[in-house]
C-alpha cells in the first residue's frame, strides 16, 4: 500500500496546530505518535524524538505509515484487535503490546492511546499514542509459583499471569530458554510505568489543546456535540478507493455528508467546498434535466438507479458520469443515507471489472460499513 502524499500529512498537523506546536512536542521527553484516522490508511502524522530513538527508525520511515509496521509474528492478535476496536469506537485504550524495532528485536511496551476531538466537527481528528517500554524484571519460574510477585500484584490480567506460569511449567519444563518464553507471555507494566504513560498523554494533549487555539480550530479531549458521520464510519469509508459521496435525505436539501478523496480529485473541489452542499453543483448548462428527474424519483421511491449524466468539474470542464445511486440503511433497518458512486465514462479498471461491478462493490462496502458502525449503543 502506498503511503499517502506528504502534503496530506503535513496539512493534517499544520491546519490544526500552530507552528510552535512541533517545537513544543519536540521538547517533550516522552515516546509518542500522533495519527490521523481521517486520512486513508490511518497514518502517523507526527512521531516524537523519543519514539524514533526507541524504535530505531528515522522520521521519514515512520511518518505516513500505519502503526502496524511495528507489529510482528509474536504480537498478540487479541491485543491488536482491542486497539482496532478502540479506534473504531473513538475511545482510549491502555494495553501491553509486543513491538519490533527496526533491527528486528522485539520489546514489550505499555501502549496508551487517547482520542483528540475537533470541537467543530464533534468527531475524532487525531489519536495520540504513548509508548512506555516495560523494563524486564528478573523472572524466576518455579513450579506452582507465579511470576515475580511485583508483576502479579499489579497485573490487571491476573488470569494470564497466574495461570500461564503453571501451564508453562507443565508443558515445557525442559525449555530453559527464558528469553523465548518471556516474549510469548504477557508482560505487565508496573504502576510507575502506568504513571509515566498517564503523564505523557496528558503532556501531549495539553500541548495540542493549547496550540490549537491560535488556529481557531480547537481540539479537546472529550467529544463536543453530536457528529454527523462518526469517525469509525470515516475510517471504514476511507478504505474505499473509488469516487463516491454520501448524502443525508433527512436533512434539508439533502446535503453531502461524506465525500471520498477520489471524488474530490475527479471534480477538482476541496472537501470543505462540498460538505453540506447538495450535489446540484455538479450540474451545468448541458446537463439533461430528465436525468436529474430520474435521480430525484429514485430517491423518493427509495430505490437504486443508474444514470448517465453530464457533470462539470470546478474548472468548468465537463465529463460523462456513469452515476449509480443506492439507499443505504443503518442498524435500525431504516435508510440513513444515499450513496452516489461516480465513474468517468471510458475509465478502465486494472482488474477487468466492469464499471457496473465496480460501482456495486462500492455500494456493498458502504452498506456493511454503515450498518455495522451504527450497531453499538455506545456510538450514538
Amino acid at each position: 500500500m502506498e503511503p499517502p502524499q506528504l502534503g496530506l500529512i503535513e496539512q493534517s498537523f499544520n491546519s490544526r496546530y500552530s507552528n510552535w506546536a512541533r517545537e513544543a512536542l519536540d521538547e517533550l521527553p516522552d515516546n509518542f505518535t500522533i495519527t490521523d484516522p481521517c486520512i486513508s490508511g490511518h497514518p502517523i502524522v507526527f512521531a516524537s524524538r523519543g519514539f524514533l530513538k526507541m524504535s530505531g527508525y528515522s522520521r521519514d520511515q515512520v511518518v505516513g505509515r500505519n502503526g502496524r509496521m511495528f507489529q510482528g509474528p509474536n504480537t498478540c492478535r487479541r491485543s491488536v484487535m482491542e486497539i482496532r476496536e478502540a479506534i473504531r469506537e473513538e475511545r482510549g485504550v491502555e494495553i501491553s503490546l509486543l513491538n519490533y524495532r527496526k533491527d528486528g528485536t522485539p520489546f514489550w511496551m505499555l501502549f496508551r492511546m487517547a482520542p483528540v476531538f475537533g470541537k467543530d466537527e464533534g468527531r475524532v481528528i487525531h489519536f495520540v499514542a504513548v509508548q512506555v517500554p516495560i523494563l524486564r524484571r528478573r523472572q524466576r519460574r518455579r513450579n506452582g509459583e507465579g511470576l515475580c510477585g511485583e508483576i502479579l500484584s499489579n497485573s490487571c490480567r491476573r488470569e494470564v499471569c497466574s495461570s500461564s506460569s503453571v501451564e508453562l511449567a507443565g508443558v515445557s519444563a525442559a525449555d530453559s530458554d527464558c528469553r523465548a518464553l518471556e516474549i510469548e507471555e504477557k508482560c505487565e507494566a508496573s504502576d510507575t510505568e502506568k504513571q509515566l504513560a498517564a503523564t505523557a498523554i496528558s503532556n501531549v494533549l495539553s500541548v495540542l489543546t493549547h496550540y490549537s487555539e491560535s488556529t481557531g480550530r480547537l481540539v479537546c479531549e472529550k467529544r463536543f456535540g453530536p457528529s454527523l458521520v462518526s469517525s469509525s464510519l470515516h475510517i471504514s469509508l476511507g478504505r474505499i478507493k473509488q469516487s463516491f459521496v454520501l448524502v443525508d435525505p433527512h436533512l434539508p436539501d439533502i446535503p453531502i455528508v461524506y465525500a471520498s478523496d477520489a471524488f474530490l480529485r475527479m471534480t477538482g473541489y476541496a472537501r470543505n467546498e462540498v460538505l453540506g452542499q447538495n450535489c446540484r453543483f455538479l450540474t451545468g448548462v448541458d446537463t439533461d434535466p430528465s436525468a436529474l428527474h430520474q435521480i430525484k424519483q429514485s430517491i423518493q421511491a427509495q430505490q437504486a438507479c443508474s444514470v448517465r449524466i453530464l457533470h462539470y468539474r470546478k474548472d468548468k470542464s465537463s465529463f460523462w458520469n456513469l452515476l449509480h445511486i443506492s439507499p443505504v440503511r443503518n442498524a435500525t433497518g431504516k435508510i440513513a443515507y444515499f450513496v452516489g458512486v461516480q465513474i468517468e465514462e471510458g475509465s478502465v479498471d486494472r482488474h477487468g471489472l466492469s464499471p457496473e461491478m465496480r460501482q456495486l462493490s462500492v455500494v456493498g462496502s458502504i452498506k456493511v460499513a454503515v450498518r455495522s458502525s451504527s450497531m453499538s449503543y455506545s456510538i450514538h
Partner: protein, 448 residues
C-alpha cells in the same frame, strides 16, 4: 438408539425445495441453469485465483491486509459487488439490511438481530443428530442443484502463483472447481457459501484440502470482519454437502474478545489456547511455521472429532490468523428432551454464528428482551461440560501430536471400528485412529 430433532431447515437456495418436490424433479433434464451435467457444459462464471503461500509464514500475508484501515482487497470488492448485484436482481428472500440489529449492552457484546423473514412457516423436518459422518445423498438437496445465477464466482489456487481474475471463465468440470454462492436467507450482508470441489459432491466433513481453501479465502479477503464458519452434522448443518459460510459484520464478535489461556505449542509452531470466561468451551488455534501447519492442525482436530462422532463448529477469524474450534452437544440434549421449553421457543439453533455471539431472533419479544444473561444461558447449554471438554481436549492433542511424530512413519495402523470412511489422499496418516477409541457412543469414551 437414533437421536433426532425436528426443525425447519433454513432455505439457502431458491432451488431448495421440500423432500417431496425434489423427488418429483429427479427424472429428466432440469430445464434451467444448474450445476449438474445437464447444464455445466458451456457454463461460464467469474474465476478468482489466489496465490498459494507455501513458504510464507502464516502471519506474513496478513501483515499487509489485516487492518481495517488498509484499502479494500480485490476479493473483498468482487464478493461485495457480486452480492449487491444479486440483491438488486431480487434473488434474496428479504433485504437483510432492513432487519434491525444491535449490540446487547453488557461486557461481552453479544449481537442480536430481529429477522422475522428468515425462518419459513413450514413443517419442520426431521434431522438425525447422532451421526456426524453421513454419506452424501444425491436425492436430497445439494449445491449442484442451485441456479448459476446464485453462484458468484469460482475460487481456486492459481496455476502460476499469481492472483488473477477472469470475468468470464468456463466452468471446467475436470478441474473440480470450488465456488462461492449466495445464501438466499442471509444472516448479514454478504452472506455466502464456499463450496469446495462442488462437483465431487463431498459430504459435510472436513478434510485438509478443503479447510486450507477456506483459510485462503479468509486471507485473500483481507478483512478481519469477514469471517468463515463451519457447522458439522449434529451441530446444526442442514445440508450434507461440504460447505463453509461467510459474511461481513464490522464489529468484534464476543468469542473474539474472550480471554484465552495458552495450553500448548505444537512442534510446528501452532499455538493452541483455551477459551475461558465464555459460555462455550473451546480451543483457539494460532501461529504455525507455515499456513499449512496451522490449517492441518485444525483439520486434524476436526477429523478426529468427526471420526469420533463429536459434533463441532469452527470459526475462522482475524483474516485466518485465529481459528476457534468448539465441540457441542445441544442437538443431543434437544433430542433427549433436556432443553427447557423456554430456550426451545426462541427457535435459536446454536450453530457457529450463534456460538460466536451473533443471534438471529425471529420473535420481536425475544429481540426486545435480549440480554447478556439470556444469551449466556443459551450458549452455556451448548457447551460440553468441563469434564467432557477436558477429555475431548486431551484426545485432540494426542491426535494432533501424532501427526508430527508419524511424518516419517509410513505404517497405517488400523483403528477400532469398521464404519470409518476411507483415508483422504493427503499422504499423511490420520492419527485419530491410533487411539483405540470406541466410536459412535457419546456417553463413554475409552482411553488407552
Amino acid at each position: 438408539m437414533m437421536l433426532r430433532i425436528k426443525r425447519v431447515p433454513t432455505v439457502v437456495s431458491n432451488y431448495q425445495k421440500d423432500e417431496g418436490e425434489d423427488a418429483a424433479r429427479r427424472g429428466g433434464g432440469c430445464g434451467r441453469n444448474c450445476l449438474q451435467k445437464c447444464c455445466i457444459p458451456g457454463a461460464k462464471l467469474p474465476l478468482y485465483t489466489f496465490k498459494r503461500a507455501e513458504e510464507i509464514p502464516g502471519d506474513k500475508c496478513v501483515l499487509e491486509h489485516d487492518d481495517n484501515q488498509a484499502p479494500v482487497a480485490f476479493l473483498d470488492s468482487l464478493l461485495l459487488g457480486q452480492w449487491e448485484d444479486r440483491m438488486q436482481r431480487g434473488l434474496f428472500r428479504y433485504d437483510v439490511t432492513a432487519c434491525e440489529t444491535k449490540v446487547i449492552p453488557g461486557r461481552c457484546g453479544f449481537m442480536a438481530q430481529l429477522n422475522e423473514g428468515r425462518h419459513l412457516k413450514k413443517r419442520p423436518t426431521e434431522f438425525r443428530v447422532d451421526k456426524v459422518l453421513q454419506p452424501f445423498d444425491g436425492n436430497k438437496f445439494n449445491f449442484t442443484k442451485v441456479g448459476q445465477e446464485e453462484v458468484l464466482f469460482q475460487f481456486d489456487a492459481s496455476e502460476d502463483g499469481e492472483v488473477q481474475f477472469f470475468p468470464d471463465a468456463p466452468v471446467d468440470a475436470d478441474s473440480s472447481p470450488s465456488v462461492v454462492a449466495i445464501n438466499v436467507s442471509p444472516i448479514e450482508y454478504g452472506h455466502v457459501l464456499l463450496i469446495p470441489r462442488i462437483l465431487e459432491c463431498l459430504p459435510q466433513r472436513i478434510d485438509r484440502e478443503s479447510f486450507l481453501l477456506a483459510l485462503y479465502m479468509a486471507i485473500e479477503a483481507g478483512n478481519p470482519y469477514f469471517r468463515l464458519g463451519y457447522n458439522s452434522l449434529g451441530a446444526f448443518a442442514t445440508i450434507n454437502h461440504l460447505h463453509f459460510q461467510a459474511y461481513y459484520l464490522a464489529v468484534p464478535f464476543p468469542i473474539e474478545k474472550a480471554p484465552t489461556r495458552k495450553v500448548t505449542t505444537l512442534g510446528d509452531g501452532v499455538k493452541i489456547s483455551e477459551l475461558f470466561d465464555y459460555p462455550v468451551r473451546g480451543l483457539v488455534f494460532e501461529g504455525g511455521n507455515t499456513l499449512q501447519d496451522l490449517s492441518n492442525a485444525v483439520s486434524d482436530a476436526c477429523i478426529f472429532l468427526q471420526d469420533n462422532n463429536i459434533p463441532h463448529n469452527v470459526l475462522i477469524a482475524d483474516c485466518g490468523k485465529r481459528i476457534f474450534l468448539l465441540p457441542q452437544c445441544y442437538a443431543e440434549k434437544q433430542a433427549l428432551g433436556e432443553v427447557s421449553s423456554e430456550l426451545l421457543d426462541t427457535q435459536v439453533n446454536p450453530a457457529v454464528w450463534e456460538i460466536s455471539g451473533h443471534m438471529v431472533l425471529k420473535r420481536k419479544k425475544d429481540y426486545e428482551e435480549a440480554s447478556e444473561e439470556n444469551a449466556w444461558r443459551l450458549l452455556a447449554e451448548v457447551s460440553l461440560s468441563e469434564e467432557r471438554f477436558e477429555e475431548v481436549k486431551a484426545l485432540i492433542f494426542e491426535a494432533c501430536s501424532y501427526t508430527l511424530s508419524e511424518k516419517e512413519d509410513e505404517h497405517l495402523t488400523q483403528g477400532a471400528g469398521d464404519d470409518k470412511p476411507p483415508l483422504e489422499g493427503t499422504g499423511s496418516i490420520n492419527k485419530g485412529r491410533n487411539c483405540n477409541m470406541v466410536s459412535g457412543t457419546q456417553e463413554c469414551l475409552v482411553l488407552q
